[in-house]
Protein backbone atom coordinates (compact mmCIF):
# COMPACT_ATOMS: atom_id res chain seq x y z
CA UNK A 1 0.00 0.00 0.00
CA UNK A 2 1.45 3.30 -0.99
CA UNK A 3 -1.18 5.67 0.37
CA UNK A 4 0.17 7.70 3.29
CA UNK A 5 -0.99 6.62 6.71
CA UNK A 6 -2.27 8.86 9.46
CA UNK A 7 0.70 8.27 11.73
CA UNK A 8 4.35 7.90 10.83
CA UNK A 9 6.04 8.21 14.21
CA UNK A 10 8.26 5.49 15.56
CA UNK A 11 10.52 5.12 18.54
CA UNK A 12 14.16 4.11 18.65
CA UNK A 13 15.52 3.10 22.03
CA UNK A 14 19.22 2.52 22.57
CA UNK A 15 20.81 1.21 25.72
CA UNK A 16 18.32 2.81 28.08
CA UNK A 17 18.64 2.43 31.84
CA UNK A 18 15.91 3.46 34.25
CA UNK A 19 15.84 3.85 38.02
CA UNK A 20 13.18 3.44 40.64
CA UNK A 21 13.61 5.03 44.05
CA UNK A 22 17.16 6.08 43.18
CA UNK A 23 18.35 2.58 42.21
CA UNK A 24 18.99 1.56 38.63
CA UNK A 25 16.71 -1.41 38.09
CA UNK A 26 16.94 -1.97 34.36
CA UNK A 27 19.68 -1.23 31.89
CA UNK A 28 20.62 -1.92 28.32
CA UNK A 29 17.11 -1.82 26.89
CA UNK A 30 17.39 -1.40 23.10
CA UNK A 31 14.71 -1.84 20.47
CA UNK A 32 13.00 -0.19 17.53
CA UNK A 33 9.29 0.46 17.38
CA UNK A 34 8.37 1.26 13.79
CA UNK A 35 5.07 2.85 12.75
CA UNK A 36 2.43 0.11 12.77
CA UNK A 37 4.51 -2.22 14.94
CA UNK A 38 3.61 -3.86 18.23
CA UNK A 39 5.94 -4.85 21.01
CA UNK A 40 5.30 -6.83 24.16
CA UNK A 41 7.43 -6.09 27.19
CA UNK A 42 7.70 -9.14 29.39
CA UNK A 43 9.61 -9.79 32.55
CA UNK A 44 9.20 -10.85 36.16
CA UNK A 45 7.67 -8.65 38.85
CA UNK A 46 10.05 -5.86 39.71
CA UNK A 47 12.01 -6.15 36.48
CA UNK A 48 11.21 -2.54 35.62
CA UNK A 49 8.53 -2.84 32.93
CA UNK A 50 6.38 -0.07 34.37
CA UNK A 51 9.37 2.17 35.06
CA UNK A 52 10.63 1.66 31.50
CA UNK A 53 7.26 2.59 30.00
CA UNK A 54 6.92 5.65 32.23
CA UNK A 55 10.43 6.81 31.35
CA UNK A 56 9.82 6.37 27.61
CA UNK A 57 6.52 8.25 27.96
CA UNK A 58 8.39 11.21 29.44
CA UNK A 59 6.85 10.83 32.90
CA UNK A 60 10.09 9.73 34.58
CA UNK A 61 13.72 10.38 33.72
CA UNK A 62 15.87 8.10 31.58
CA UNK A 63 19.09 7.52 33.50
CA UNK A 64 21.37 6.73 30.58
CA UNK A 65 20.87 5.88 26.94
CA UNK A 66 18.64 7.48 24.35
CA UNK A 67 15.03 7.31 23.26
CA UNK A 68 14.50 9.01 19.91
CA UNK A 69 11.25 9.54 18.16
CA UNK A 70 11.48 8.94 14.43
CA UNK A 71 11.64 11.03 12.37
CA UNK A 72 12.70 13.46 15.07
CA UNK A 73 12.47 14.48 18.70
CA UNK A 74 14.01 13.00 21.80
CA UNK A 75 13.24 15.39 24.64
CA UNK A 76 10.82 14.26 27.35
CA UNK A 77 8.41 16.98 26.21
CA UNK A 78 8.53 15.73 22.61
CA UNK A 79 7.90 12.18 23.82
CA UNK A 80 4.99 13.30 26.01
CA UNK A 81 3.46 14.95 22.94
CA UNK A 82 3.69 11.78 20.84
CA UNK A 83 3.06 9.09 23.46
CA UNK A 84 -0.01 8.29 25.50
CA UNK A 85 0.69 6.19 28.59
CA UNK A 86 -2.06 4.10 30.14
CA UNK A 87 -0.85 2.71 33.44
CA UNK A 88 -2.12 0.67 36.37
CA UNK A 89 -3.91 3.65 37.86
CA UNK A 90 -7.08 4.51 35.98
CA UNK A 91 -7.08 8.26 36.73
CA UNK A 92 -10.86 7.99 37.11
CA UNK A 93 -12.50 10.34 39.61
CA UNK A 94 -15.14 8.37 41.51
CA UNK A 95 -17.18 11.38 42.60
CA UNK A 96 -18.30 12.36 39.10
CA UNK A 97 -19.83 10.50 36.16
CA UNK A 98 -17.85 8.62 33.56
CA UNK A 99 -18.88 11.24 31.05
CA UNK A 100 -17.47 14.02 33.24
CA UNK A 101 -14.18 12.11 33.43
CA UNK A 102 -14.19 11.74 29.64
CA UNK A 103 -14.98 15.44 29.18
CA UNK A 104 -12.04 16.44 31.38
CA UNK A 105 -9.61 14.23 29.47
CA UNK A 106 -11.04 15.36 26.15
CA UNK A 107 -10.33 18.97 27.10
CA UNK A 108 -6.78 18.16 28.19
CA UNK A 109 -6.11 16.25 24.97
CA UNK A 110 -7.89 18.87 22.89
CA UNK A 111 -10.21 16.21 21.51
CA UNK A 112 -13.26 17.30 19.51
CA UNK A 113 -16.70 16.03 20.52
CA UNK A 114 -16.94 13.33 17.88
CA UNK A 115 -13.74 11.76 19.18
CA UNK A 116 -15.36 11.39 22.61
CA UNK A 117 -18.25 9.57 20.93
CA UNK A 118 -15.75 7.39 19.07
CA UNK A 119 -14.05 6.56 22.37
CA UNK A 120 -17.38 5.60 23.96
CA UNK A 121 -18.14 3.43 20.92
CA UNK A 122 -14.70 1.80 20.82
CA UNK A 123 -14.82 0.49 24.38
CA UNK A 124 -18.61 0.07 24.56
CA UNK A 125 -19.01 2.54 27.41
CA UNK A 126 -22.52 3.74 26.50
CA UNK A 127 -24.31 1.52 29.03
CA UNK A 128 -22.56 3.00 32.07
CA UNK A 129 -20.90 6.24 31.00
CA UNK A 130 -23.52 8.43 32.68
CA UNK A 131 -23.38 6.61 36.02
CA UNK A 132 -21.17 7.92 38.83
CA UNK A 133 -17.72 6.47 38.25
CA UNK A 134 -17.63 5.35 41.88
CA UNK A 135 -20.42 2.88 41.11
CA UNK A 136 -18.51 1.21 38.27
CA UNK A 137 -16.73 -2.12 38.50
CA UNK A 138 -12.95 -2.39 38.17
CA UNK A 139 -13.30 -3.62 34.60
CA UNK A 140 -15.65 -0.79 33.65
CA UNK A 141 -13.26 1.80 35.09
CA UNK A 142 -10.46 0.17 33.18
CA UNK A 143 -12.40 0.49 29.92
CA UNK A 144 -13.13 4.12 30.76
CA UNK A 145 -9.41 4.69 31.31
CA UNK A 146 -8.49 2.92 28.06
CA UNK A 147 -10.75 5.31 26.16
CA UNK A 148 -8.01 7.92 26.71
CA UNK A 149 -6.11 6.11 23.95
CA UNK A 150 -8.76 7.20 21.45
CA UNK A 151 -9.16 10.69 22.96
CA UNK A 152 -5.44 11.40 22.80
CA UNK A 153 -5.14 10.61 19.06
CA UNK A 154 -1.40 10.13 19.57
CA UNK A 155 0.70 7.84 17.39
CA UNK A 156 2.39 5.82 20.15
CA UNK A 157 0.49 3.90 22.80
CA UNK A 158 2.30 2.59 25.89
CA UNK A 159 0.04 0.25 27.80
CA UNK A 160 0.79 -1.22 31.21
CA UNK A 161 -1.24 -4.38 31.88
CA UNK A 162 -4.13 -3.07 29.74
CA UNK A 163 -6.17 -6.26 29.95
CA UNK A 164 -6.11 -6.47 33.76
CA UNK A 165 -9.65 -6.68 35.21
CA UNK A 166 -11.47 -6.65 31.88
CA UNK A 167 -13.58 -9.50 30.53
CA UNK A 168 -12.98 -11.53 27.38
CA UNK A 169 -15.34 -9.47 25.23
CA UNK A 170 -13.65 -6.24 26.30
CA UNK A 171 -10.22 -7.75 25.75
CA UNK A 172 -11.32 -8.59 22.21
CA UNK A 173 -12.45 -4.98 21.75
CA UNK A 174 -9.09 -3.78 22.99
CA UNK A 175 -7.33 -6.05 20.49
CA UNK A 176 -9.55 -4.68 17.72
CA UNK A 177 -8.81 -1.10 18.76
CA UNK A 178 -5.09 -1.83 18.78
CA UNK A 179 -5.31 -3.49 15.34
CA UNK A 180 -7.17 -0.46 13.94
CA UNK A 181 -4.57 1.86 15.45
CA UNK A 182 -1.74 -0.12 13.85
CA UNK A 183 -3.53 -0.12 10.51
CA UNK A 184 -3.41 3.69 10.64
CA UNK A 185 0.33 3.59 11.25
CA UNK A 186 0.22 3.82 15.04
CA UNK A 187 2.51 1.72 17.20
CA UNK A 188 1.83 0.04 20.53
CA UNK A 189 4.01 -1.22 23.32
CA UNK A 190 2.34 -3.46 25.89
CA UNK A 191 3.71 -4.63 29.22
CA UNK A 192 1.79 -7.73 30.19
CA UNK A 193 1.84 -10.96 32.13
CA UNK A 194 -1.26 -12.61 30.74
CA UNK A 195 -1.76 -14.29 27.42
CA UNK A 196 -2.86 -11.28 25.43
CA UNK A 197 -2.16 -11.79 21.74
CA UNK A 198 -1.39 -9.25 19.05
CA UNK A 199 -0.65 -10.27 15.44
CA UNK A 200 2.96 -9.86 14.47
CA UNK A 201 4.03 -8.51 17.84
CA UNK A 202 7.63 -8.93 18.88
CA UNK A 203 8.65 -9.45 22.49
CA UNK A 204 11.19 -7.59 24.55
CA UNK A 205 12.11 -9.47 27.69
CA UNK A 206 13.56 -7.38 30.47
CA UNK A 207 15.44 -8.60 33.49
CA UNK A 208 16.03 -6.86 36.76
CA UNK A 209 19.62 -5.77 37.12
CA UNK A 210 21.53 -7.93 39.58
CA UNK A 211 21.57 -6.01 42.85
Amino acid sequence: MSEPKEFSTGLTVRDVAVARGGRTILEGASFDLAPGAALFVKGANGSGKTTLLRALAGLAPIETGEAHLTPEGSSPAARRAAIVYCGHANAVKAAVSGRANLAFWATLYGAPKDRTEAAIEAFDLAAFVDAPAGALSQGQRRRLALSRLILSAKPLWLLDEPSAAIDAASAARLSAVIAAHRARGGAVMVATHDGMEIDGARTLTVHARAA
Partner: protein, 222 residues
Amino acid sequence: MNGFLAIISRDVALGFKAGGGTVQTALFFALTALVFAIAVGPDTALLSRIAAPTLWAAALLSALVSLDRIFQADFEDGSLDVIVETADLLEGRVLAKAIAHWIAACLPLILATPVLALLLSLPAQGYWPLVLSLLVGTPALSFIGAISAAVTLSLRRAGVLIAILTAPLYAPALIFGVAAANAGASGAPNFIPSLLFLGAGTLFSMILAPLAGAAAIRFNMS
Protein backbone atom coordinates in the same frame (compact mmCIF):
# COMPACT_ATOMS: atom_id res chain seq x y z
CA MET B 1 -12.12 25.54 27.17
CA ASN B 2 -8.40 25.02 27.62
CA GLY B 3 -6.60 22.75 30.06
CA PHE B 4 -5.98 25.53 32.57
CA LEU B 5 -9.67 26.31 33.01
CA ALA B 6 -10.61 22.63 32.80
CA ILE B 7 -8.38 21.82 35.77
CA ILE B 8 -9.77 24.71 37.82
CA SER B 9 -13.38 23.83 37.12
CA ARG B 10 -12.81 20.13 37.70
CA ASP B 11 -10.99 20.65 41.01
CA VAL B 12 -13.58 23.10 42.28
CA ALA B 13 -16.42 20.76 41.27
CA LEU B 14 -14.69 17.82 42.99
CA GLY B 15 -14.15 19.98 46.09
CA PHE B 16 -17.87 20.50 46.49
CA LYS B 17 -18.71 16.80 45.97
CA ALA B 18 -19.02 14.42 48.90
CA GLY B 19 -15.56 13.84 50.33
CA GLY B 20 -14.15 16.70 48.29
CA GLY B 21 -13.24 18.63 51.41
CA THR B 22 -14.69 22.09 50.80
CA VAL B 23 -17.43 21.64 53.38
CA GLN B 24 -15.06 20.05 55.90
CA THR B 25 -12.59 22.92 55.56
CA ALA B 26 -15.32 25.52 56.08
CA LEU B 27 -16.62 23.67 59.14
CA PHE B 28 -13.08 23.36 60.51
CA PHE B 29 -12.71 27.12 60.10
CA ALA B 30 -15.93 27.81 62.00
CA LEU B 31 -15.00 25.30 64.67
CA THR B 32 -11.57 26.85 65.23
CA ALA B 33 -13.09 30.31 65.62
CA LEU B 34 -15.73 28.92 68.01
CA VAL B 35 -13.10 27.17 70.12
CA PHE B 36 -11.33 30.52 70.57
CA ALA B 37 -14.59 32.22 71.46
CA ILE B 38 -15.49 29.59 74.04
CA ALA B 39 -11.98 29.58 75.52
CA VAL B 40 -11.94 33.36 75.95
CA GLY B 41 -15.34 33.37 77.60
CA PRO B 42 -17.92 36.15 77.78
CA ASP B 43 -15.44 39.04 77.89
CA THR B 44 -16.82 40.98 74.91
CA ALA B 45 -14.16 43.68 75.03
CA LEU B 46 -11.35 41.14 74.84
CA LEU B 47 -13.18 39.13 72.16
CA SER B 48 -13.66 42.15 69.96
CA ARG B 49 -9.93 42.94 70.23
CA ILE B 50 -8.86 39.43 69.22
CA ALA B 51 -11.62 38.80 66.67
CA ALA B 52 -9.59 39.71 63.59
CA PRO B 53 -6.39 37.84 64.65
CA THR B 54 -8.49 34.83 65.61
CA LEU B 55 -10.22 34.67 62.25
CA TRP B 56 -6.93 35.10 60.42
CA ALA B 57 -5.36 32.29 62.48
CA ALA B 58 -8.39 30.10 61.86
CA ALA B 59 -8.17 30.75 58.12
CA LEU B 60 -4.49 29.85 58.14
CA LEU B 61 -5.11 26.58 60.03
CA SER B 62 -7.98 25.69 57.71
CA ALA B 63 -5.78 26.26 54.68
CA LEU B 64 -3.08 24.06 56.25
CA VAL B 65 -5.37 21.08 56.79
CA SER B 66 -6.67 21.23 53.23
CA LEU B 67 -3.33 21.41 51.42
CA ASP B 68 -2.76 17.69 50.93
CA ARG B 69 -5.75 17.64 48.60
CA ILE B 70 -4.07 19.79 45.96
CA PHE B 71 -1.96 17.06 44.38
CA GLN B 72 -2.15 13.93 46.55
CA ALA B 73 -5.37 12.43 45.19
CA ASP B 74 -4.34 13.08 41.58
CA PHE B 75 -0.93 11.53 42.24
CA GLU B 76 -2.43 8.40 43.76
CA ASP B 77 -5.12 7.77 41.15
CA GLY B 78 -2.95 8.49 38.12
CA SER B 79 -4.65 11.74 37.11
CA LEU B 80 -1.40 13.61 37.62
CA ASP B 81 0.17 11.50 34.85
CA VAL B 82 -2.50 12.70 32.45
CA ILE B 83 -2.12 16.28 33.64
CA VAL B 84 1.66 16.17 33.18
CA GLU B 85 1.44 14.30 29.86
CA THR B 86 -0.87 16.89 28.33
CA ALA B 87 0.84 19.94 29.81
CA ASP B 88 2.56 22.31 27.40
CA LEU B 89 3.84 24.03 30.51
CA LEU B 90 3.66 22.18 33.82
CA GLU B 91 4.01 25.51 35.65
CA GLY B 92 0.63 26.58 34.27
CA ARG B 93 -0.98 23.39 35.55
CA VAL B 94 0.44 24.01 39.05
CA LEU B 95 -0.95 27.56 38.99
CA ALA B 96 -4.36 26.19 37.98
CA LYS B 97 -4.30 23.68 40.85
CA ALA B 98 -3.38 26.42 43.36
CA ILE B 99 -6.12 28.74 42.09
CA ALA B 100 -8.62 25.88 42.30
CA HIS B 101 -7.53 25.28 45.90
CA TRP B 102 -8.14 28.94 46.72
CA ILE B 103 -11.63 28.86 45.20
CA ALA B 104 -12.61 25.56 46.81
CA ALA B 105 -10.94 25.97 50.21
CA CYS B 106 -10.32 29.66 50.96
CA LEU B 107 -13.17 31.52 49.28
CA PRO B 108 -15.86 29.73 51.34
CA LEU B 109 -13.99 30.77 54.51
CA ILE B 110 -14.01 34.40 53.44
CA LEU B 111 -17.75 34.18 52.77
CA ALA B 112 -18.28 32.74 56.24
CA THR B 113 -16.08 35.34 57.92
CA PRO B 114 -18.72 38.08 58.48
CA VAL B 115 -20.97 35.64 60.35
CA LEU B 116 -18.14 34.45 62.59
CA ALA B 117 -16.96 38.04 63.08
CA LEU B 118 -20.41 38.84 64.46
CA LEU B 119 -20.02 35.97 66.92
CA LEU B 120 -16.65 37.34 68.03
CA SER B 121 -17.97 40.92 68.43
CA LEU B 122 -15.73 42.42 65.78
CA PRO B 123 -16.30 46.22 65.74
CA ALA B 124 -18.48 47.27 62.82
CA GLN B 125 -15.75 49.26 61.09
CA GLY B 126 -13.52 46.16 61.09
CA TYR B 127 -15.62 43.97 58.77
CA TRP B 128 -14.56 45.40 55.47
CA PRO B 129 -10.80 45.60 56.31
CA LEU B 130 -10.87 42.00 57.60
CA VAL B 131 -12.62 40.61 54.53
CA LEU B 132 -10.39 42.67 52.27
CA SER B 133 -7.23 41.46 54.00
CA LEU B 134 -8.40 37.85 53.67
CA LEU B 135 -9.21 38.36 49.99
CA VAL B 136 -5.76 39.79 49.34
CA GLY B 137 -3.81 37.45 51.64
CA THR B 138 -5.37 33.98 51.39
CA PRO B 139 -4.27 33.40 47.77
CA ALA B 140 -0.71 33.43 49.14
CA LEU B 141 -1.73 30.57 51.46
CA SER B 142 -2.84 28.51 48.46
CA PHE B 143 0.21 29.34 46.36
CA ILE B 144 2.75 28.61 49.10
CA GLY B 145 0.75 25.56 50.12
CA ALA B 146 0.88 24.23 46.56
CA ILE B 147 4.68 24.20 46.79
CA SER B 148 4.58 22.19 50.03
CA ALA B 149 2.00 19.82 48.59
CA ALA B 150 4.17 19.25 45.52
CA VAL B 151 7.31 18.70 47.60
CA THR B 152 5.63 16.05 49.77
CA LEU B 153 3.86 14.42 46.82
CA SER B 154 5.40 10.98 47.04
CA LEU B 155 4.94 10.67 50.81
CA ARG B 156 1.77 8.98 51.89
CA ARG B 157 -0.35 10.53 54.64
CA ALA B 158 1.76 13.67 54.50
CA GLY B 159 -0.95 15.94 55.95
CA VAL B 160 0.78 16.77 59.23
CA LEU B 161 4.19 17.05 57.59
CA ILE B 162 2.78 19.52 55.05
CA ALA B 163 1.36 21.60 57.91
CA ILE B 164 4.68 21.63 59.76
CA LEU B 165 6.60 22.56 56.61
CA THR B 166 4.19 25.24 55.55
CA ALA B 167 3.23 27.04 58.77
CA PRO B 168 6.52 28.99 59.07
CA LEU B 169 6.19 30.11 55.46
CA TYR B 170 2.77 31.51 56.26
CA ALA B 171 4.15 33.87 58.92
CA PRO B 172 4.55 36.96 56.67
CA ALA B 173 1.03 36.65 55.31
CA LEU B 174 -0.32 36.24 58.84
CA ILE B 175 1.61 39.24 60.18
CA PHE B 176 0.61 41.66 57.44
CA GLY B 177 -2.92 40.28 57.18
CA VAL B 178 -3.57 40.71 60.89
CA ALA B 179 -1.88 44.12 60.85
CA ALA B 180 -4.23 45.32 58.12
CA ALA B 181 -7.31 43.79 59.75
CA ASN B 182 -6.40 45.15 63.21
CA ALA B 183 -5.70 48.61 61.89
CA GLY B 184 -9.13 48.59 60.26
CA ALA B 185 -10.89 47.21 63.34
CA SER B 186 -9.37 49.79 65.69
CA GLY B 187 -10.56 52.57 63.43
CA ALA B 188 -7.07 53.55 62.34
CA PRO B 189 -7.40 55.87 59.40
CA ASN B 190 -5.17 53.91 57.09
CA PHE B 191 -4.80 50.15 56.80
CA ILE B 192 -3.66 50.29 53.19
CA PRO B 193 0.15 50.00 53.74
CA SER B 194 -0.14 46.57 55.40
CA LEU B 195 -2.57 45.54 52.69
CA LEU B 196 -0.06 46.50 50.03
CA PHE B 197 2.68 44.44 51.68
CA LEU B 198 0.21 41.56 51.87
CA GLY B 199 -0.60 41.96 48.20
CA ALA B 200 3.07 42.03 47.31
CA GLY B 201 3.56 38.75 49.17
CA THR B 202 0.64 37.20 47.31
CA LEU B 203 2.01 38.30 43.94
CA PHE B 204 5.48 37.01 44.81
CA SER B 205 4.10 33.62 45.86
CA MET B 206 2.04 33.51 42.67
CA ILE B 207 5.25 33.72 40.65
CA LEU B 208 7.22 31.36 42.88
CA ALA B 209 4.60 28.62 43.32
CA PRO B 210 4.33 27.49 39.67
CA LEU B 211 8.11 27.36 39.25
CA ALA B 212 8.88 25.59 42.53
CA GLY B 213 5.79 23.38 42.39
CA ALA B 214 6.49 22.16 38.85
CA ALA B 215 10.12 21.43 39.74
CA ALA B 216 9.01 19.45 42.80
CA ILE B 217 6.49 17.45 40.76
CA ARG B 218 9.09 16.58 38.15
CA PHE B 219 11.43 15.45 40.90
CA ASN B 220 8.78 13.42 42.71
CA MET B 221 7.61 11.64 39.57
CA SER B 222 11.06 10.25 38.92
